[in-house]
């Protein structure tokens, strides 16, 4: 095993993660949670390997402290928050196999206007940590580079009243196998907003776990997936309302054509006594063509009674009447389909607060739609 002392983690922690990964092995389709994303099969003989990927900072706004996770003597804030999450298998893998990554800290009360931009690059395992202290505010733009295989684990900690908007656009990545786990903890009145735009790859799995740990904490997740060919995209979320008076929404839209497979698994857990929690989930998919597939699994796990939880999921096709209407007004079929698909995806895109990013996602979608429709 490489890099035991890397990442500044106590050896025991590292070993613990390694043991978890060893016991469970690379997930495959008989593992309930990975039913629609057979990672073991996609990786083949090569397995997860022990390669080292990196976190490249593309733009670092002033005021943000960073720490190279490969370095020694991590500061207190890294020691306190880093290396907590490994409930899921691939996070245990990255925690035990990665040798580097970057940690970022936005100090108390600092409201940063320009986005922090970074991307995970290279093949292999890598970790990241982002801490927003009480009252801090930031936009994170996460780029995604294409690589044969990467397994990235990102931990995010939001202090009281902290606000983070996270936008991640992952391009059409051909034969790449990409796995990322984002684990978020939110304190009182903190807010996490995230949007994941996915154009698919051979296997692409985005796992987001959000724990609402203080009253008034909020999480708003949205995403779009536009897939063609043999692309696959799996967004699996788990929002946990640990205390009462917390609020979460999810809105995910998927369009799959060709032989593509769009997957959404959204679990919402409301813990015992978390009264006053409010959660709303909506997942919709449109299939184009004979061979595309959509798999949706919105799950509710409720242990408190004074809560408002609802979810909806729907799979369908483009409304024939709307299509005809556009054509009757002179719009050629391909263009009409594109318009309707765009309209379908729009409300998820509208969830992005940052104007530049919103426009960017819209443009990417338009380009991809022209190719599909």
């Amino acid at each position: 095993m490489t890099g035991i002392t890397a990442l500044g983690l106590p050896e025991a922690r590292r070993n613990e993660a390694a043991a978890i990964f060893r016991a469970r092995g690379v997930p495959h389709r008989r593992v309930e949670d990975w039913k629609y994303s057979d990672l073991r099969s996609a990786l083949g003989e090569a397995g997860v390997g022990a390669g080292q990927a990196e976190l490249h900072t593309l733009h670092l706004p002033a005021g943000i402290e960073t720490f190279d996770l490969a370095g020694t003597n991590p500061p207190d804030w890294v020691r306190e928050y880093f290396g907590q999450a490994d409930r899921n298998t691939m996070s245990a893998a990255s925690l035990s196999l990665a040798a580097g990554g970057t940690a970022f800290r936005v100090p108390k009360g600092l409201v940063i206007a320009e986005p922090l931009k970074f991307e995970f690059a290279g093949a292999g395992h890598v970790r990241g940590l982002l801490v927003l202290e009480d009252g801090a505010s930031l936009t994170l733009v996460e780029g995604v580079t294409v690589e044969r295989f990467r397994n990235a684990g990102l931990e995010i900690v939001l202090g009281e009243n902290a606000r983070l908007e996270h936008v991640r656009v992952s391009p059409n990545a051909g034969e790449a196998v990409m796995v990322e786990e984002v684990s978020v903890r939110i304190a009182q009145r903190g807010q996490y907003r995230a949007h994941f735009a996915a154009f698919g790859s051979k296997l692409s799995r985005m796992e987001v776990e959000v724990a609402l740990e203080g009253e008034g904490a909020e999480a708003h997740l949205s995403g779009v997936a536009l897939l063609d060919g043999k692309r696959h995209s799996d967004v699996t979320t788990h929002v946990i309302h640990r205390t009462g008076n917390t609020h979460s929404t999810q809105l995910f839209k998927h369009v799959a054509g060709g032989n593509a497979r769009a997957v959404y698994q959204g679990k919402v857990t409301v813990a015992r006594g978390a009264n006053g929690s409010d959660s709303n989930q909506s997942a919709k998919a449109l299939l184009l063509g004979e061979n595309a597939e959509a798999d949706l699994k919105p799950e509710l796990e409720i242990f408190a009674d004074d809560v408002k939880c609802a979810h909806g999921a729907a799979v369908g096709d483009l409304d024939a009447e709307s299509l005809f209407y556009l054509q009757a007004r002179g719009i050629p079929e391909a263009e009409a389909r594109g318009l309707l698909l765009q309209a379908f995806l729009e409300d998820a895109v509208a969830q992005i607060l940052n104007t530049d990013q919103r426009e960017l996602v819209r443009t990417e979608l338009l380009t991809a739609l022209k190719a599909i429709a």
């Binding site: 309930e32 015992r272 006594g273 009264n275 998919a285 449109l286 299939l287 184009l288 063509g289 004979e290 061979n291 595309a292 597939e293 959509a294 798999d295 949706l296 699994k297 919105p298 799950e299 509710l300 796990e301 409720i302 242990f303 408190a304 009674d305 004074d306 809560v307 408002k308 939880c309 609802a310 979810h311 909806g312 999921a313 729907a314 799979v315 369908g316 096709d317």
Partner: protein, 483 residues
């Protein structure tokens, strides 16, 4: 030493020599404890089954030995010791009572609360037939009507002997022997159950109920039911009853297979009130059932309606395979879990044919420290053009110590299919309760009223007699759950 050998040696001690190692001189009511090939042979022999049936059972048994018990449901139960059970017991020859006066008054009170008609109370309580007013004539008219229509309705053991071709043609074709652990076990040791065949174009003249079956009162552990609706026919079948079912047998693993041919329809309703164990969850029944309907014919329809309460652990997913074009599958369910009960129930709608439709309405009610899970699968295969599904799952939580979980799987491989799923979670609002109290409705009755309102859409699917009893059952199951 294996069970069979042990018995053999015991028997040898008594100084007798017997074919299967069991005592046959004295009329034996039970197979010895444990499960082996000999047990299977014993059961088959007791039932007087033909060779092909025995072979079928043995095949299932050998397969079962290679299988592992499933563990993925959200239910937790103590390990079942399969060797520590009796797999065959003849119907009890308990002396019949002469009147209701001899029946446990508490039992009678429950029957009264449930509004069970008098003659049915007597039958349930084991009162001798000739002491029951009208029941003989009722049973006779019933049989005559069915014979006239050509409907076959008899215990499955009878069907195996009298209609072997029909049984051979359909048994195990909807739930294959290898389908799952409990179904395989059932295939090896099933002891009783219902067989129904409705001929072409016949609308069965009355609702068929297990109550009217010939050896009605005792429900076997491993029931096997097979219902076939031939082209253009219709039958409504009622299983179970609202009376609390107490049983020493902990494990119930039934298999129900339904087949509809072109334009035929089967309506299958279940109202079960298993003994849930005491308030601490001890001694309850484990209810693992495999129920599946195969809509083989075009425009055929299978509808499952269930009201389940009681068993300590329930694991059942009545399903429909929508094979025939334009076939329809429906699932209406009320699942109540109180105290320490655990329910994991739901349905699977498999859309294979074109223009198929399915509808799922699930109402789950949790109270006490119970855990109630809905697990559903709507799967649309590539050739299922224009498939349509609508699912509505609602959970009602009573009190802060219980849990309600919804796990829907939605899989679509056809671009023209439309699937819609909605789920909500709610509680009985304090102001709703107060409103009822202020209008004079006492607490438990108010809870019953509100919960029955919550379940209305499902209750409306039940045949009338069941619906009234089911409403009362809902109320009783939740007595004392609020406050």
């Amino acid at each position: 030493m294996s069970i069979a050998a042990e018995t053999k040696s015991q028997v040898a001690e008594i100084g007798e020599k017997y074919k299967y190692g069991f005592v046959t001189d004295i009329e034996m009511d039970m197979a010895p404890k444990g499960l082996s090939e000999d047990t299977v042979r014993f059961i088959s022999a007791k039932k007087g089954e033909p060779e092909w049936m025995l072979e079928w059972r043995l095949g299932a048994f050998r397969r079962w030995l290679t299988m592992k018990e499933p563990d993925w449901a959200r239910v937790h139960y103590p390990k079942i010791d399969y060797q520590n059970s009796y797999y065959y017991a003849a119907p009890k020859n308990t002396p019949l009572k002469q009147s209701l006066d001899e029946v446990d008054p508490k039992l009678l009170e429950t029957y009264k609360k449930l509004g069970i008609p008098l003659h049915e109370q007597m039958a349930l309580a084991g009162v001798a037939v000739d002491a029951v007013f009208d029941s003989v004539s009722v049973a006779t008219t019933f049989k005559d009507k069915l014979n006239e229509a050509g409907v076959i309705f008899c215990p499955i053991s009878e069907a195996i002997r009298d209609y072997p071709d029909l049984v051979k043609q359909y048994l195990g074709t909807v739930v294959p022997v290898t389908d799952n652990f409990f179904a395989t076990l059932n295939s090896a040791v099933f002891s009783d159950g219902t067989f129904v065949y409705v001929p072409k174009g016949v609308r069965c003249p009355m609702e068929l109920s297990t109550y009217f079956r010939i050896n009605a009162s005792e429900t076997g552990q491993f029931e096997r039911t097979l219902i076939i609706a031939d082209e253009g026919s219709f039958v409504s079948y009622l299983e179970g009853c609202t009376a609390p079912k107490r049983d020493e047998n902990q494990l119930h693993a039934a298999v129900v297979e339904l087949v509809t041919l072109d334009n035929a329809e089967i309506k299958y309703s279940t109202v079960q009130n298993w003994y849930p164990g005491d308030e601490n969850g001890l001694g309850g029944i484990f209810n693992f059932v495999t129920k599946r309907g195969d809509c083989r014919g075009k425009k055929s329809k299978i509808s499952w309606t269930q009201v389940e309460t009681g068993s300590a652990i329930t694991w059942k997913y009545p399903s429909c395979i929508l094979r025939g074009d334009e076939s329809v599958g429906e699932f209406y369910s009320i699942a109540i879990a109180n105290n320490y009960q655990q329910a994991d129930t739901g349905t699977k709608m498999i859309h294979l044919g074109a223009n198929t439709r399915s509808r799922i309405i699930s109402k789950g009610i949790s109270a006490g420290k119970a855990q109630n899970t809905y697990r559903g699968l709507v799967s649309v295969y590539g050739k299922a053009k224009n498939a349509r599904n609508y699912t509505q799952c609602d959970s009602l939580l009573i009190g802060g110590d219980c849990g309600a979980h919804t796990v829907p799987y939605i899989e679509s491989r056809n671009s023209t299919a439309r699937i819609e799923h909605e789920a909500t979670t709610s509680k009985i609002a304090e102001d709703q309760l107060f409103y009822c109290l202020q209008r004079g409705i006492p607490q438990d009755e108010a809870v019953s009223l509100i919960v029955n309102g919550f379940c209305r859409e499902v209750l409306q699917q039940l045949p009338m007699e069941f619906a009234v009893e089911a409403q009362k059952l809902v109320g009783i199951s939740l007595e004392g759950s609020v406050g």
